[in-house]
Every structure is written in C-alpha cells, then in structure tokens.
C-alpha cells in the first residue's frame, strides 16, 4: 500500500499538465451535438492524438503511450481539471477500442485502432432497440449472410445511439440466427454509417440537444470482415464492452472531483458559511467523490495485478450516477431562483443537472444494476 506518487508518475502528471495548459482552448468549444461543435471536437481529438494524449492507455503501436491504469487516472485528473473539451471519440477509445484489442483480429486492430485514436473514425453506440431497453437481450434487428457469404445484410432499428448524428461508424449486436432467442444467436458487427440503407434520425433530449439518435437499417450490406468476435457470440463481446463502460472508463473519478470542486467554489461564493446543513451536504458529496476516487484506485490496482473487472462495475455505476445527481441538486439549491435560468452565468449547472439525470438511466438503469449486484455479488436467488 503506497498512495504517494512515484517520481515517474509525478513526471507523467507534470508533462500532461504542461501540455494541456498550453493547448486547451481558452473558449469552450460548441456542443459536440452540433455540426460545428462535432467538427471542432474532432479537430481537438486530432491535436490530442498528435501528442499521443488521445488514448494514453493504448499500446504505442496504435497511437497510445502504453500507460498503466494509474497513469490513465492521473491523465484523466489533469485532463478534466484543465477544463479540456469533452471526448467526442469516447465510444471508440474507451469502449470499442479495448474490446477490439481483446477479441479483434490483427487486421481489425490495424484497420480500426489507429484511425480511432486519431479520431478519423468517430464511433456511435448502437445497443438498444425500441423493445430492448433494460431487457437488452430481446434484440430484434437482424443480420443474414448474403448468398455468397461475403456480406451481412442488416435490417432493423436501433435507438439511443449516442453520437450517431455525426459519427462515422456504429457498433452493435444483431440477431444472426433467426431461430435464436434472448442472448443466443447474436453477433457483434461494425457498420459504416454512410452505408447505403442507413438512416439516422436525431432524438432531441431534455436539454434540446441531439446526443442520441435512432438508426434504421434497410438491407444494409456489410462485409463479414466487420464481424467482431465469434458469429453468434455477440452477447459476450457486448457484455465485455458494457462492463467496461459501467466500470472505470466511462466516468473517471476526475470528472466528479472537478464537479465537486466547482460546487465548493459555488458554496464559497454564494453559500451561507454559517449554514451547517448545506456545509454538511457539500462535505458529504465531497466525501462521495473522494470515496469514488479511492475505490477506483483500488480497482485499477487489482486490474494491474491481473484481476478481471466483474460485477463491481454495477456498484460503480450506481455510485457515480447518484453522486453526480446529488452534486448538481445541491448546486441548484445554492442558486435558488437562478437555478431555472439557462442563459446566465450558471447555465452550466442547469445543463449539468439535466445531463446528470441521464446517469441513473443509461448504460443500464440503476434498477438493473441493483439486480446484478444482488444476483452476482450478494448471490441472491434470481427472480422468476
């Protein structure tokens, strides 16, 4: 147990901090859920990639730095503290990328990973379907092999596809065995969004932005070389990705520490220093963010030691999503009647509050996560 930084780690932190201080745009970029914002974020990702900061934990050969998880956390702390833009390429770099490294072919690794790291390919998730939300196994979108066996012919509809409005590619699971049900007979397929037969319909969300979309597939032809992992084994591949998402990668602790830092700044500015109630509440949310950071360091140390990241990811997902909502609720309480204003200096808090409300819902609702914890961690009997 040694929670102090090594000289190397400190040097890594300083290098990241220095680079970010020099390159982070002074003005925030427009939302990456707009055309111009998406382009601006792609450009920023390119800048990161040139300096090998876009995927620090990836092997050097794919554009990363081969940094261990501790360094990845250090980078995330510096990244979010510097006020750098959101990661428009997150779906690829944090979710699909690691999955490709785990189950992809060498050809796939060469074809996708470097382009992903340089944000030349920006990826959309395509998991859910209108009837497959919490019940993700009831996938209906189909893919059948063409007569010559060279292509998948994909038909159906996906929804809640994040980044899909402007992304280049999407990944998802499709039913390739028409006679199969539930988790069986599904295959993980990578599809260019400019393919003939693909229609993307943006979904306006609570804040008016279109971070999600529906994707309609009408006999879309995809070369079988875009199959990730075994045919019929898509569920397992998807679970690896989803577990990783719920786990460390989607929400590194640094995001919440920055948010709580801002909350504390707000409290120091507008809060009543004698109001112990609010003082205790702010302290409580600080402790939660700090607890999440410590829990994550414990987790990544396990991963460095070779442990696999299992159902604890469900514990993480509930914890960070509820922490995030609480943090923003407190900020709005501090703002009083300013809390409804979306054009003022506090706009960020209102947007952040609305965004935080998606946390307990997406990547598997917190109700589903509690079931998983009960079944797999507490070993309670499955519901029938």
């Amino acid at each position: 147990m040694d929670l102090s930084e090594t000289d190397d780690e400190r040097a890594f932190r300083n290098e990241a901090r220095a680079w970010l201080a020099e390159h982070v745009p002074h003005e925030p970029l427009p939302s990456f859920d707009t055309a111009e914002g998406f382009a601006a974020h792609r450009e920023w990702e390119g800048l990161l990639a040139d300096a090998r900061w876009s995927a620090v934990s990836w092997p050097v050969e794919y554009g990363g730095r081969g940094a261990d998880y501790i360094r990845w956390l250090i980078f995330e702390e510096e990244y979010w503290r510097s006020g750098a833009p959101g990661r428009v390429s997150q779906n690829g770099i944090f979710l699909l990328g690691p999955t490709i490294m785990e189950v992809g072919t060498d050809e796939q690794k060469a074809r996708f990973l470097p382009a992903m790291a340089r944000a030349e390919q920006i990826w959309a998730q395509a998991w859910s379907e209108p009837d497959a939300g919490s019940d993700m196994a009831s996938i209906r979108s189909k893919a059948r092999l063409s007569d010559d066996g060279s292509e998948w012919v994909v038909s159906g509809q996906k929804t809640w596809a994040s980044r899909a409005v402007w992304a280049d590619w999407c990944f998802g699971i499709f039913r390739t065995d028409p006679d199969s049900t539930r988790h069986r007979g599904l295959t993980f397929i990578l599809i260019p969004l400019d393919s003939a037969g693909v229609t993307v319909r943006p979904i306006a969300q609570l804040d008016g932005d279109t971070g999600f979309a529906e994707i309609f597939f009408d006999a879309v032809r995809v070369p079988v070389q875009n199959t990730l992992g075994p045919v019929g084994g898509g569920w397992g591949v998807a679970m690896a990705t989803a577990g990783f998402e719920r786990g460390v990668s989607l929400r590194s602790p640094a995001r919440f520490q920055v948010a709580v830092d801002r909350l504390i700044q707000l409290w120091l500015r507008v809060g009543d220093p004698d109001d112990d109630s609010m003082r205790d509440a702010v302290t409580d949310v600080w402790m939660r963010a700090e607890g999440y950071r410590l829990h994550t360091y414990q987790t990544v140390t396990k991963m460095i030691d070779g442990d696999h990241f299992g159902s604890e990811s469900s514990l993480n997902k509930i914890f960070w999503s509820e922490l995030d909502v609480r943090c923003h609720e407190l900020a709005l309480q501090l703002l009083g009647t300013d809390a409804e204003r979306v054009d003022g200096p506090h706009e960020g808090w209102v947007d952040g509050f609305l965004f935080s409300l998606s946390g307990p819902i997406y990547a598997g609702t917190n109700e589903i996560q509690r079931n998983i914890i009960a079944d797999r961690v507490l070993n309670l009997p499955r519901s029938n």
Binding site: S128, D131, G133, S134, D135, S138, T159, W160, I203, A204, Q205, L206, G208, F212, D275, S277, M278, E329, L332, Q333, L335, G336, T337, D338, A339, E340, R341, V342, D343, G344, V350, L354, L357, S358, P360, I361, Y362, T365, N366, E367, R370
Partner: protein
C-alpha cells in the same frame, strides 16, 4: 373541527379539472412553449369565464369574495394541467393586494394580467404581464410594465417568460398592504400548484408503467417500479393536508400562519422533487427525450420549487416557530 371542503368548493375545482383535462392537453401546453407567448389566450379567457381570477377578489371588485380555502383546490387543479402564465399571481396575490384600487376589477375579470416579485427573486415570472407588483415601503408598488425597462431572461421552462425589470424606482402606484401576507399567499398557491403537478407527473409515469413491457411483462409489475412510485405518492399525499391547513390558516389569519405556509411549501417542494425524479426514472430513456410530454411538467416543477421561497428558507421559518418556543399541540 372539520377537515373537509364544502360541496361547492369541490364542485368548482372538479369543473376546472374537467375543463383543463379536456381543453388544455399536453399538446396545448407544448404549443405555448413553441409560441413563445408564455400564455394561452383562449385558455386565459376560459379561466376568466369560470371565475378563477375572481375567486378571492372582493364582491366590490367584481369577485366572489371567497378565501384561500376556496382558491387552494383551484391552484391544485391548475398545477395538474401545468397552466402557464402568471395565473396564480393574478388570482391570489394581485386580487388580494389591489382590492379597492382601480386595477382590481380588471384583475378579478382576468383582463389585467399581473405578475409579482415580492421576495428575493431576481426575476419577474412573466414579461408580457400588464402589471408587476414589487415591494414598497408599507406595501407594494403596482407598476405598468410598459413604463419600465424589461430584459428577457431564459428559463429552462420555456412556458415561463422571465425578465429583469429596471428603471422602476419612480414609477407606478403605491398600494398599502401587508406584504408578508402576500408572500404567504404566493407561497401557498405555489405549493398547491406543485402538488397538482406532482400528481400529474405520477399519473404520466403510471400510464407508461402500465403500457411499457420489458422482460415479457409491464414494467409496472416490477417491485422496483412499484416502490419508486409508492414512495413518491407517499410524499405527495402527506404534503396535501398541510397545504389545505395552511390555506385555512391564511383564511382565518391564524397566529401560526407563517409556520403553516412554510411547512406547506417545504413539503410540496420535496414532494415535487421526488415525483419528478421517480417519474423520470420509471420512464427511462424515453422520459429523457423532448418528444415525451413528461419534461414539460418536470421543468415546471424545477422552476417553481425555488420560486416563492426555497425549501431551506421555508424550513428555517418552521424551525424558528417550532424550536424557538416550547412546543405544544396546535389546535
């Protein structure tokens, strides 16, 4: 002692509720958002026809001279439909503050639209109102919005056309009145509105939970969903009597009026916060979309929770009343 409303009071509220269910649908509310007017002129006229604006106005002003006990059920029904515009301010605060003035008749008839900023709010709730009431020594000042500088402010509830008002120092008419009473009336009316709104959000969530199927059954059959909604309903059901009692305390000018009103607003705020969270969580991703009507109601709740006194402001007023003196039963 009798904790119930008269048949007449119940009938008027039921009539309003029926009219709103039929005529002010979610689509109509959405239209107000898109129009950018902040109100629905036809609806406003219908409310005037039903005498909503005149309920607490005096007979002399052309009102029916009733009390907040009569008004509270109407405020709840208005909240259930999330009626936009400064309807609460006009029917309760203005009708009380402006009685006996030349403006009173127009207020009671609903032809004079009044908004108010009597507490700490930085903003006026409706920039297209005719009159705004602001604090003035020994009462309020009634200012014609056309005579001051009005700068738009954007609310997350697009049905609310907030504004800042400046250059208001030397204009308007002074009206002597009890501003503390006006603040309590505004807080109580808002609390009742929030409880109606909370019931609406739970009703929308209930419809969805009966309808939406996952794992081969309606999601409303899962205990997690049942308990999420039951806990929210619990808060709403126990906030409501506190609101009715506060309305009575105002109507009899009870010595504990401040405590009772603040208890009502504090409980209503918590209930609305909880109802919004639960309703959204029951919906899942659908509830997070602009197409789903739920957000129209949630955003109204989030806007009104801090309005007319935040939860902590009102909880502190209760604490001062309860912990400042030796506690005894209240009858």
């Amino acid at each position: 002692m009798r904790f119930a409303f008269d048949p007449g009071q119940l009938a008027m509220a039921a009539g309003l509720r029926v009219m709103l269910d039929r005529e002010f649908t979610p689509a109509a509310l959405r239209a107000v958002w898109d129009s950018g007017t902040g109100t629905d002129a036809a609806l406003w006229a219908r409310l005037a026809d039903m005498g909503v604006f005149g309920v607490v106005a005096s007979d002399a002003d052309g009102g029916s001279g009733a009390t907040m006990v009569d008004a509270v059920l109407l405020c709840e029904a208005l909240g259930h439909a999330a009626v936009p515009g400064p309807v609460l301010e006009t029917m309760t605060i203005a009708a009380t503050a402006l009685t006996g003035t030349p403006l009173a008749a127009g207020v009671a008839a609903g032809t004079t639209v009044v908004t108010a900023a009597l507490g700490g709010e930085r903003y006026v709730a409706h920039r297209h109102a005719d009159i705004v009431l602001i604090p003035d020594h020994g009462g309020v000042r009634a200012i014609d919005l056309a005579t001051v500088t009005v700068a738009p402010v954007e609310s997350l509830d697009r049905g609310r056309l907030l504004a800042t008002v400046t250059d208001a120092e030397h204009v308007g008419r002074h009206v002597p009145t009890d501003i503390e009473l006006l603040r309590d009336i505004g807080a109580l009316a808002t609390a009742a509105y929030l409880v109606g709104l909370s019931n609406r959000m739970l009703a929308i969530a209930g419809d969805y939970a009966r309808d939406r199927r996952q794992f081969g059954q309606p999601i409303g059959s899962f205990q997690a969903v049942k308990h999420l909604m039951a806990d929210a309903l619990l808060q709403v059901e126990f906030a409501r009597p506190a609101i009715y009692r506060a309305a009575w305390s105002i109507s009899v000018d009870h010595e504990q009026r401040a405590r009772d009103v603040s208890m009502a607003k504090a409980l209503a705020n918590d209930a609305a916060q909880k109802a919004a969270r639960s309703a959204l969580q029951v919906h899942g991703a659908i509830g997070y979309t602009w197409e789903c009507d739920l957000h129209l109601y949630m955003k109204k709740a989030w806007a009104l929770i801090p309005a007319h006194g935040t939860t902590s402001h009102h909880r502190r007023r209760v604490a001062d009343a309860v912990l400042g003196v030796r506690p005894t039963f209240t009858h």
